[in-house]
C-alpha cells in the first residue's frame, strides 16, 4: 500500500479497495513500528487522524470528497495546527498549541488529506542536518548513522521511509531540497509567495516558503495543487493564477533548454555526486533537452549574503518568544530582564542563539549599512544573474547538495562547514525562485539529488520536467532497506 502513488491511492479509495481508515491505520502502524529508529515525528495524532479518515470515507461514499480525500500526510512541525502541538523543534514551544491552522494546513484539510502527525525539524528551521531539534536528531532511513539533512529532515525521512504519503516542508535556504536530496525523495520549494505563510512560524520572512516532500513529482503535484494560491492573510502571497500542476505533468521535454551553472560544479562538490548529476542531465538530453553551460557569477556570494539576511530577520522574528505571553518561561524570574534572559537562554538551543546574535549584530547602529544593506544589494545582483540566465535557458540544473548524507555529529562543531551544505540551494531563496530536488543515481548506496531551478511561477514546468525524467528512470522508486 505504502508504495503506491497518491493518484493510485486516491483511485483505490474511490473504488473502496480499502478505506482511508485502513490506509491510515496502516501508516500509523508503520510509524509505531519504524519511527522509533528514525525519530521523524515529534507528534503522532492517531485519534484525530482516524477521525479525519472516517470523515474522508464518508465523504468519498457521499461523492463529496476533495482531491486528497483520505490520503495520509504529515506536516512539518512549523505549521500551526489548532489543537495539536506546534513545537517548531524547540523547547520554547514544547507545550504550545496554536488556536488556529496555518493556511497550508487548512487548505490540505479542505482537500480531505488526513494528518498523521507533525514531523521533526531543526529548531525554528535553523540547520541542515536536523541535529538542532530539541526532540533529538532524525536518522536517515538509508543509513541510520547519517543525517537526513534539514531543516525539513523529519518530513524527508518520513516520506523516504514510507511513513506517510507525502509531507509538507518549508525552505528558507534549502530546507526542503537538501533533505529531499539526502533522503532520496522529491521536494519542491515553490516561488516565494506561491503558498501562504499564514500560520507558518517565521524564520526569515523574506525567504521562507512552504512546499512539499513526496515520493515523486506526480505526488508532489497532487499536494501542491491544493496548497498553492493567494491568501489575503499573507501580504506577501502572490495574487497570480495557479495552473493545475497534475494536468501539466505530461508537457513535452523536447527542445527544453537546460543550463548548468559552472559555479555549481566547482571545488567543494563531491566528484561522485557531480558524475551522478551529469548522468541525469545526459538522460534528459536523450529525452530531447538541450543542455548547455551557463554562469551565475554572483552565486558564490549566496552563503555570506544569506547569513546576514536570514539571521537579521530571525533576530526580529524570534523576539516574540519572550516568556511573557506563551512558550517557555524560566522558573521564578527575579525581574523583567531576568525573565527575558533566562527564558530565552533556556528555551532556545545553541544554533538559534547564534543566529539571533549574528542578526542582532548586523542590524545594529553603525553596522546596518555595512552588512544588511550591502547584503540586500548583492541579493539583487544574484537575482539579476538568474534573470540573465533565463534569457538563454528554461531550467537551471545542478547538484542539490555538495555531498551525500554525512554522519551524525560530523559537522555540529563547525557551523561554517554545516552552512556550506546549502551552497547550491540558497541563491534560489535569495532570488525567490522555485526550486526542486529529485533523486538521481545514488553514490555508495546513498541518495543524490538533482536540483531544478525555474523562473518565477514556473512550478508546473519543474514538475513536468521532473515527471518526464521519473517516467524514464527508476531512482525515485527505490526504498531504503527495511522500509520497502
Amino acid at each position: 500500500m505504502q508504495n503506491k502513488s497518491i493518484a493510485e491511492m486516491a483511485a483505490d479509495l474511490r473504488l473502496r479497495s480499502y478505506s482511508s481508515v485502513e490506509l491510515t491505520r496502516h501508516y500509523l502502524e508503520r510509524i509505531a513500528r519504524l519511527d522509533p529508529g528514525l525519530n521523524s515525528f515529534i507528534s503522532v495524532a492517531a485519534e484525530p487522524a482516524l477521525a479525519a479518515a472516517e470523515h474522508a470515507d464518508r465523504a468519498i461514499a457521499a461523492g463529496t470528497a476533495g482531491p486528497l480525500a483520505g490520503i495520509p500526510i504529515a506536516h512539518k512541525d512549523i505549521f500551526c495546527t489548532s489543537g495539536l502541538k506546534t513545537s517548531c523543534g524547540s523547547r520554547m514551544l514544547d507545550r504550545f498549541i496554536a488556536p488556529y491552522d496555518a493556511t497550508v494546513v487548512e487548505r490540505l484539510a479542505a482537500a480531505g488529506a488526513v494528518v498523521l502527525g507533525k514531523t521533526n525539524m531543526d529548531e525554528f528551521a535553523m540547520g541542515s542536518s536536523n541535529e538542532t531539534s530539541y526532540y533529538g536528531p532524525v536518522r536517515n532511513p538509508w543509513d541510520p548513522t547519517r543525517v537526513p539533512g534539514g531543516s525539513s529532515g523529519g518530513s524527508a525521512a518520513a516520506v523516504a521511509a514510507r511513513l506517510c504519503a507525502a509531507a509538507t516542508g518549508t525552505d528558507t535556504g534549502g530546507s526542503i531540497r537538501q533533505p529531499a536530496a539526502l533522503c532520496g525523495v522529491t521536494g519542491i520549494k515553490p516561488t516565494y509567495g506561491r503558498c501562504s505563510r499564514w500560520g507558518m512560524i517565521a524564520f526569515a520572512s523574506s525567504l521562507d516558503q512552504a512546499g512539499v516532500l513526496a515520493r515523486s513529482a506526480a505526488d508532489a503535484a497532487c499536494v501542491l495543487d491544493e496548497m498553492a494560491g493567494f491568501d489575503p492573510r499573507d501580504s506577501t502571497s502572490a495574487d497570480v493564477a495557479v495552473p493545475d500542476y497534475v494536468d501539466s505533468l505530461d508537457e513535452e521535454i523536447a527542445g527544453l533548454r537546460i543550463g548548468l551553472p559552472k559555479e555549481y560544479f566547482g571545488a567543494g562538490l563531491d566528484g561522485r555526486v557531480a558524475a551522478s548529476v551529469h548522468e541525469a542531465t545526459k538522460e534528459l538530453e536523450r529525452l530531447g533537452a538541450d543542455v548547455r553551460d551557463i554562469s551565475l557569477p554572483n552565486s558564490p556570494l549566496s552563503v555570506p549574503v544569506y547569513y546576514v539576511v536570514a539571521p537579521a530577520e530571525c533576530s526580529s522574528n524570534l523576539a516574540r518568544f519572550d516568556g511573557v505571553r506563551y512558550g517557555h518561561r524560566c522558573e521564578d524570574p527575579r525581574d523583567l530582564e531576568d525573565l527575558y534572559k533566562r527564558s530565552r537562554a533556556e528555551g532556545f538551543g545553541a544554533e538559534v542563539q547564534r543566529r539571533i546574535m549574528i542578526g542582532t549584530y548586523v542590524l545594529s547602529a553603525g553596522y546596518y549599512d555595512a552588512y544588511y544593506l550591502k547584503a540586500q544589494k548583492i541579493r539583487h545582483l544574484i537575482a539579476d544573474d538568474f534573470q540573465r540566465a533565463f534569457e538563454e535557458v528554461d531550467v537551471i540544473m545542478g547538484p542539490t547538495a555538495p555531498t551525500t548524507a554525512f554522519p551524525l555529529g560530523a559537522k555540529m562543531d563547525d557551523p561554517v562547514a554545516m552552512y556550506l551544505n546549502d551552497i547550491y540551494t540558497i541563491a534560489t531563496n535569495l532570488a525567490g525562485l522555485p526550486g526542486m530536488s529529485i533523486p538521481v543515481a545514488p553514490v555508495d548506496g546513498l541518495p543524490v539529488g538533482l536540483q531544478l531551478i525555474g523562473n518565477y511561477f514556473q512550478e508546473a514546468r519543474l514538475l513536468s520536467v521532473a515527471h518526464r525524467f521519473q517516467r524514464a528512470t527508476h531512482w525515485h522508486l527505490a526504498a531504503p532497506e527495511g522500509f520497502q
Binding site: 500551526c80 520572512s205 523574506s206 492573510r233 501580504s235 524570534l318 516574540r320 511573557v324 542590524l363 547602529a365
Partner: protein, 483 residues
C-alpha cells in the same frame, strides 16, 4: 546676564479613527475589558502576519494633504525592535526611512495675533503598543498586568521641525494639530483616552547662536497644560544646569504633573538601539493617484482658509476668526447663526462670549450644546428688533441653556418683553421723580452722576424690562422739568 533662546520640536502621536486595528481585524473601541479586543495578530502569536488597514492609509493621506505635504507614492514599513512586555512581537511596525507623509507646514496664531508658520518634517503610520498595569492598580501582590487591547491601534506620528521658541508656541502648535486632525475627521483627538499624545524635544541656546543646544525629550504629555508646564520647567532646568557650570545631558525625561517637574527616565547610553529594518512581512506601500484623489476628495475647507474667509467675508478680527475656527463644529455653528441673522459681529460676540463661557463651565463640546445655532439666532433676532435688551438677552440665553425652550418661548413665559410703551413708562418715571426730591435737586444742581440712580430705580421698578434707550430719553426730559 545671558539671554537664552528656547528651541522646541514636537512629536505628536494621534490615534486614527478606524474601526479596526492597523494590521488586524480586531476592534479599536476604547474602554473594553482588558485583553478582549486583541486577536492572534495583536498578541503576536507564532505564524501570524500583518495585513495593512486601507482606512488608516486613507486617513494619513488626508492629513498629508491638509498640511500641504507631499504624499509618498511609495513608503516602507519598518520594524523598530525592542523588548517590553506590552510590545507583543518584540518590535513595533512603524515607518522609518520612507514615511507616507513628507514635509508640510501649518500656521499658528500667537497671543499677539501674529501668524507663525511651523514646519512639519514628516508624518508616518505605526501601530500602538499595549498597556502595562502595575501593582498599585491590580490590588497589590507584586504583579504587573498587561492589557493588549491597545496593541495594534493605528497611530499617525507627526514630527515637527524645531521651530517653536516658547512653551506657548509649542502649545499653539499642538492645539493647531489637534484642531486639524479633528477638523478633517481622522482622529477624535481625545487626550484623556490617549488618542493624542505629545513628546517634546527641548533645548536652549544663547540668543544669537545658530547651533542647537543639547536636547532632552519629554515623553507622553497628554494635556495642553502639561505641555506648557513641562516645557517651562525643562527650559528653566536646562538654563540652571548651564548657568551652574554644568552641561545638559541628552536623555528622555518624564513630566510629573503632581510635582510639576521633569525627571530623567533614561540617558542616551541606556537608549535602545532599535535596529530598524524594512518589515519583510509587508510589501512597500504603493499608492496610485486614484487612491489619493479619492482619499482627499471630500476634505472640508481647512481651518486656515476658513479663518481667512471669516476675516474677509465676515469682517472679523484675527482673534475672533481664530477662536471661531477652533473646531469645524464651532465654525459651522457660527456660520449657521450668521446665515440666520445677517449679523456676523453680534454672532461672533455671542458665540465667543456667552456660549463659549457656558460650554466651558459645563465642559461640553459645541456639538452637545443645549442651545442650537437656530436658537441662538432666534435670540439675536429679538435683540435686533428690540424685543429684549442685551442684558435681558443674557437672562434668556441662560433659560434656553437650562432647557426652557427657544427665545420666544422664554420671553413669553417669563414676561421679559421690553416695556417700550411710553404710556406705561412715563407714569412710572414721574412717580420715581416725585418720590426722590433730594436726588432731583442734586441732579438739577449739576451732579449728573445721579442720573444713574434714576435709571437703576426705573429698571428695578420695571423688573429690567424697560427699554433702556427709552428710559434715558424720558428721564432726561422729565428731570429737565419738561412735561
Amino acid at each position: 546676564m545671558m539671554q537664552w533662546e528656547t528651541v522646541i520640536g514636537l512629536e505628536i502621536h494621534t490615534q486614527l479613527a478606524t474601526r479596526s486595528k492597523i494590521f488586524s481585524g480586531a476592534p479599536t473601541a476604547f474602554g473594553a475589558e482588558p485583553n478582549t479586543q486583541a486577536c492572534a495578530i495583536d498578541l503576536g502569536l507564532p505564524g501570524v502576519l500583518p495585513v495593512l488597514n486601507a482606512e488608516a492609509v486613507r486617513l494619513a493621506v488626508r492629513f498629508g494633504k491638509a498640511i500641504g505635504a507631499e504624499i509618498a507614492r511609495r513608503s516602507i514599513f519598518a520594524r523598530k525592535n525592542y523588548f517590553y512586555p506590552d510590545l507583543p512581537k518584540g518590535y513595533q511596525i512603524s515607518q522609518y526611512e520612507l514615511p507616507i507623509v513628507g514635509e508640510g507646514r501649518v500656521e499658528i496664531v500667537l497671543d499677539d495675533a501674529t501668524v507663525k508658520s511651523v514646519g512639519v518634517t514628516r508624518a508616518h503610520l505605526e501601530e500602538d503598543a499595549g498597556k502595562s498595569l502595575h501593582d498599585d492598580k491590580l490590588g497589590g501582590g507584586g504583579y504587573s498586568g498587561i492589557d493588549l487591547n491597545r496593541a495594534g491601534t493605528p497611530l499617525l506620528e507627526i514630527v515637527s521641525e524645531p521651530d517653536m521658541r516658547s512653551p506657548k508656541e509649542a502649545v499653539a502648535y499642538a492645539r493647531k494639530i489637534h484642531q486639524l486632525v479633528r477638523w478633517i475627521g481622522i482622529s477624535d483627538g481625545n487626550m484623556q483616552e490617549g488618542s493624542f499624545r505629545v513628546d517634546a524635544n527641548v533645548s536652549v541656546r544663547p540668543r544669537g547662536q545658530t547651533l542647537f543646544g543639547t536636547r532632552t525629550e519629554i515623553k507622553n504629555l497628554n494635556s495642553f497644560r502639561f505641555i506648557e508646564r513641562a516645557i517651562q520647567f525643562e527650559v528653566e532646568r536646562q538654563i540652571d544646569v548651564i548657568e551652574g557650570g554644568g552641561t545638559v545631558v541628552q536623555e528622555t525625561r518624564l513630566y510629573d504633573p503632581e510635582r510639576d517637574e521633569t525627571r530623567s527616565m533614561r540617558s542616551k547610553e541606556e537608549a535602545n538601539d532599535y535596529r530598524y529594518f524594512p518589515d519583510p512581512d509587508l510589501l512597500p506601500l504603493e499608492l496610485d493617484v486614484a487612491f489619493i484623489v479619492d482619499a482627499v476628495a471630500d476634505l472640508p475647507e481647512l481651518p486656515d482658509a476658513r479663518r481667512e474667509r471669516f476675516h474677509i467675508q465676515h469682517g472679523l478680527g484675527e482673534y475672533d476668526a481664530s477662536l471661531l475656527t477652533g473646531s469645524r463644529d464651532l465654525a459651522d455653528y457660527f456660520e449657521a447663526v450668521v446665515a440666520a441673522t445677517g449679523e456676523p459681529k453680534l454672532a461672533a460676540n455671542w458665540v465667543n462670549g456667552e456660549l463659549a463661557a457656558a460650554l466651558n463651565r459645563a465642559d461640553v463640546e459645541i456639538a452637545q450644546s443645549p442651545v442650537s445655532a437656530a436658537m441662538l439666532a432666534g435670540l439675536i433676532r429679538r435683540i435686533l428688533d428690540q424685543t429684549i435688551s442685551g442684558k435681558l438677552a443674557k437672562q434668556v440665553f441662560e433659560a434656553m441653556w437650562a432647557g426652557a425652550g427657544d427665545a420666544d418661548q422664554v420671553i413669553r413665559a417669563q414676561g421679559l418683553r421690553q416695556i417700550t410703551d411710553s404710556g406705561q413708562l412715563e407714569p412710572m418715571i414721574e412717580a420715581i421723580i416725585a418720590a426722590n426730591p433730594d436726588q432731583v435737586s442734586q441732579y438739577r444742581a449739576g451732579k449728573e452722576k445721579v442720573f444713574g440712580f434714576f435709571v437703576g430705580q426705573v429698571m428695578k421698578e420695571s423688573k429690567g424690562k424697560a427699554n433702556p434707550r427709552q428710559v434715558n430719553e424720558i428721564l432726561k426730559r422729565k428731570l429737565a422739568g419738561d412735561p
